[in-house]
C-alpha cells in the first residue's frame, strides 16, 4: 500500500474574465500523503480556495495532472475522469467544510448530517451513525435543532459532522473558522486534530496562523504558487 494519497503535477487553474486571465493556482506540484494534516496559509487571493477546489474535484484545473491513490493500490488520474466518476469520487472520498457552514435551514441537525447519505447508494452506513457523529462533535443534545436554533460554532460542528458521515478519506476545510470566535475556532480545530488522529487526511485553508501551526505541515501560497512548504516528511 502506498502512503501517497494525492500527487499534483503542474496544476494550473486559469480564470477568464473577458480578455483578462487570472491564475488562481499556478503550476502546483506536490504530494500529499495518507493521514497528513496540512494547513494552507497565504494572503487573500493567494489561491487557497482554488487549491482546495482542485483537490475536492468541484472544479477542474486548466492544465496539470491530479492523481489519487485509493486504498486498493490503484492509481486514479482524476484530471482525466468523467464528471459522474468525479461525483462518485467526491461521494466516497471527500468531505467539505466551508466558512459559511452551508447547512440547509429547513432540515434539523440530524437531517443535515444525513443528507450526503441520500446520494450514496452503495456505501453502507450503520443505522444511527449520523447521531453518533453528532455526539462526537459534542452535539448529542442538539439533534433535532434547526440550524437557525444553533450558535455559529454549533452550526460549524454540524457541518463537520456532515462532512464525516460518509467516512471520507480526506477532509477539506476552507476557512472553517472565518465566522467563529476564538473559542469556537479552537473547538473546530480540536475536532480536526481528533479526526486526523483517527486516520483522516485533513487539509485546512485558513487565515488563522496560530491555529494553522497546530498542523504538522504548513504550505504557504502566494499568487497561486507555493512559496513555502514546511513540516512535510
Amino acid at each position: 500500500m502506498t502512503k501517497e494519497l494525492f500527487t499534483l503535477e503542474g496544476i494550473t487553474r486559469i480564470y477568464k474574465r473577458g480578455n483578462e486571465e487570472i491564475k488562481g493556482v499556478d503550476g502546483l506540484t506536490l504530494k500529499i500523503d495518507k493521514g497528513e494534516y496540512i494547513s494552507i496559509l497565504g494572503p487573500s487571493g493567494a489561491g487557497k480556495t482554488t487549491f482546495l477546489n482542485m483537490l475536492g474535484c468541484i472544479d477542474s484545473p486548466t492544465s496539470g495532472k491530479l492523481i489519487f491513490y485509493p486504498d486498493n493500490g490503484e492509481m486514479i488520474e482524476l484530471t482525466r475522469m468523467k464528471e459522474n466518476k468525479l461525483d462518485e469520487f467526491r461521494r466516497e472520498n471527500i468531505g467539505f467544510v466551508f466558512a459559511d457552514f452551508f447547512l440547509l435551514h429547513s432540515l434539523t441537525a440530524t437531517e443535515n448530517v444525513e443528507l450526503p447519505l441520500i446520494f450514496s447508494s452503495g456505501k453502507k452506513v450503520e443505522d444511527g451513525y449520523s447521531k453518533k457523529v453528532l455526539e462526537m462533535v459534542g452535539l448529542g443534545h442538539r439533534l433535532t435543532h434547526k440550524p437557525l436554533q444553533l450558535s455559529g460554532g454549533e452550526m460549524q460542528r454540524v457541518a463537520v459532522a456532515r462532512s464525516m458521515v460518509n467516512q471520507p478519506k480526506v477532509l477539506l476545510a476552507d476557512e472553517p473558522t472565518a465566522n467563529l470566535d476564538t473559542g469556537n475556532s479552537e473547538v473546530i480545530f480540536n475536532l480536526f486534530e481528533e479526526l486526523n488522529s483517527m486516520g483522516m487526511t485533513v487539509v485546512v485553508a485558513t487565515h488563522a496562523e496560530e491555529l494553522a501551526k497546530r498542523a504538522r505541515r504548513i504550505i504557504f501560497l502566494q499568487d497561486g504558487k507555493i512559496v513555502e512548504d514546511k513540516g512535510g516528511k
Binding site: D59, R91, F119, N166
Partner: protein, 387 residues
C-alpha cells in the same frame, strides 16, 4: 424513500407558493374529472332511460327534431297536435305491435315556480310501461290519476284513493295509483286517461304523439319508411334521438375539454415556473449537495420528484374536490342541460380516475424536466459561489 421525503420538505419551504401552484393544477383536474365523469354518467343515464321507454319509434307533428326530442324526454307543452285519425293509419302498418297515442300538456304556476305535466295515455301505453311498479292500480275511470314518484312526494300523496283537484281546469281526479320511482321522467308526471287529458286541455280527439313498438327491432327501418309517408308528421327513432343528443353533448364536451387542456397547460407552466424559481433560489444549496457527492442525476431526480409529488398531490386534491362536489356538478349540469335524463348524470368510474391521475402525472413529468435539467446543469463551484 428518503429522497421523496426530502423533496416533500423542499416543497413545504415556500408553503404559499406551493399551495397556489397545487391549487391551480387541482382546479383543472377537478374540472377534467367532473367533465369526464359527467359524460360517462350521461351516456349511462340516456341509455337506461331510452331502454326503459318500451318503444322504439315515436311520431310527433312536424317540427324541430330537438323540440321533439325534448318532448320525448323531458315532457312539456307542444303546441302542435295530430288528429286522432293518424292513429288509424299507423295501426294499419302490419309490423307495428303496439301504437300508443298520448297527449301531453302542462299547467304552469309561475307564482309557485312549478310546472305540472299531464300525460294522457291509454292501456296501450300502459303495456309499454312494463317496468312500472304501481302502488294501487291502473285507471279505473275517466277521473283516475296515477302519480309519478316525485309528483306524489311533492303532493304529499302516499295512499291511493286521495283526491286531486286541478284548480285551473276546475277538475277533480281520484288517485288510483302511485308509481315507485323509476329514475326516468315518469317520476314527475301526472298520468291521466287520454280522453280526460284531451278534454281538460280542450283538444278533443287530438294527440301529441304516438309511441310505436315494432314487433321485431330489425323491422324498425321498414316501419319508419311507411310512417314517413304520413302527412305532417315527424318520425323519431329512439336510437336517432340518442345519437342527436349524444352529438350535442359531444360537441359541448369537446369545447370544454379544449378549454380544460389549455387550463392544464397554463397550470403546468405555473408549476414549471414555481419549480424553476425554487431551483434558482437553491442554487447555492445544489452546489453544496454536489460538493457532498451528489451527481447530476441526483439533482435532476430531486427536482423532478418534487414536481411530480406536487402534481400528484394536486391530482389527488383535484379528484377529491370533484368527488365531494359531484352532487353540485350534477345540479349545475341539469340546470344547463334541458334534456338531461332523470337519473344520475354524473357517474364515478375508476377508469376516469386513472385517466385523470395518469394525466396529472404526465403533466408533472413534463413540467419537471426543464427545471430539473437546469438544476442538474449547475456547476458545483459556481453554484456555491452564488449569493
Amino acid at each position: 424513500m428518503k429522497f421523496i421525503l426530502f423533496a416533500l420538505k423542499n416543497l413545504l419551504r415556500n408553503k404559499i407558493r406551493t399551495l397556489l401552484t397545487v391549487l391551480s393544477i387541482a382546479v383543472s383536474v377537478t374540472v377534467l374529472f367532473s367533465l369526464l365523469s359527467f359524460t360517462k354518467g350521461y351516456e349511462k343515464g340516456m341509455t337506461s332511460e331510452l331502454g326503459k321507454m318500451g318503444y322504439q319509434i315515436m311520431i310527433v307533428p312536424r317540427g324541430c327534431p330537438y323540440e321533439a326530442a325534448s318532448l320525448a324526454l323531458s315532457g312539456g307543452k307542444i303546441p302542435n297536435y295530430f288528429d286522432y285519425s293518424v292513429l288509424e293509419e299507423v295501426k294499419k302498418i302490419p309490423e307495428v305491435e303496439i301504437a300508443a297515442p298520448f297527449f301531453m300538456s302542462a299547467i304552469i304556476r309561475p307564482d309557485e315556480d312549478r310546472t305540472d305535466i299531464y300525460f294522457g295515455m291509454d292501456e296501450n301505453m300502459f303495456q309499454m310501461k312494463k317496468y312500472w311498479n304501481i302502488k294501487g292500480s291502473y285507471f279505473k275511470d275517466e277521473n283516475s290519476l296515477i302519480m309519478g314518484g316525485d309528483a306524489a312526494y311533492i303532493e304529499q300523496t302516499d295512499e291511493p284513493g286521495q283526491k286531486f283537484y286541478v284548480r285551473e281546469k276546475d277538475r277533480e281526479f281520484v288517485v288510483t295509483g302511485i308509481l315507485e320511482r323509476t329514475g326516468t321522467k315518469d317520476d314527475g308526471f301526472f298520468f291521466i286517461p287520454l280522453k280526460a287529458a284531451q278534454e281538460m286541455f280542450g283538444q278533443k280527439d287530438r294527440v301529441t304523439g304516438i309511441a310505436i313498438r315494432v314487433k321485431d327491432p330489425t323491422l324498425i327501418p321498414t316501419v319508419v319508411e311507411q310512417l314517413e309517408k304520413l302527412p305532417d308528421s315527424q318520425v323519431i327513432t329512439m336510437s336517432q334521438l340518442m345519437g342527436t343528443m349524444m352529438n350535442l353533448v359531444a360537441q359541448a364536451k369537446t369545447l370544454i375539454l379544449s378549454i380544460i387542456i389549455i387550463a392544464i397547460i397554463i397550470s403546468a407552466l405555473g408549476a414549471l415556473n414555481t419549480v424553476l424559481m425554487s431551483v434558482f433560489e437553491r442554487t447555492k444549496e445544489i452546489g453544496v449537495m454536489r460538493a457532498m457527492g451528489a451527481g447530476r442525476e441526483h439533482v435532476f431526480q430531486l427536482v423532478w420528484v418534487e414536481t411530480l409529488v406536487m402534481a400528484l398531490i394536486s391530482g389527488i386534491l383535484g379528484i377529491g374536490i370533484a368527488l365531494i362536489g359531484m352532487g353540485l356538478v350534477e345540479k349545475i349540469i341539469k340546470k344547463l342541460l334541458p334534456l338531461a335524463p332523470q337519473g344520475s348524470v354524473v357517474s364515478f368510474d375508476p377508469n376516469t380516475l386513472l385517466i385523470c391521475l395518469g394525466f396529472v402525472i404526465l403533466v408533472g413529468l413534463v413540467a419537471g424536466i426543464y427545471p430539473a435539467y437546469r438544476a442538474s446543469k449547475l456547476k458545483p463551484i459556481e453554484a456555491i459561489r452564488t449569493e
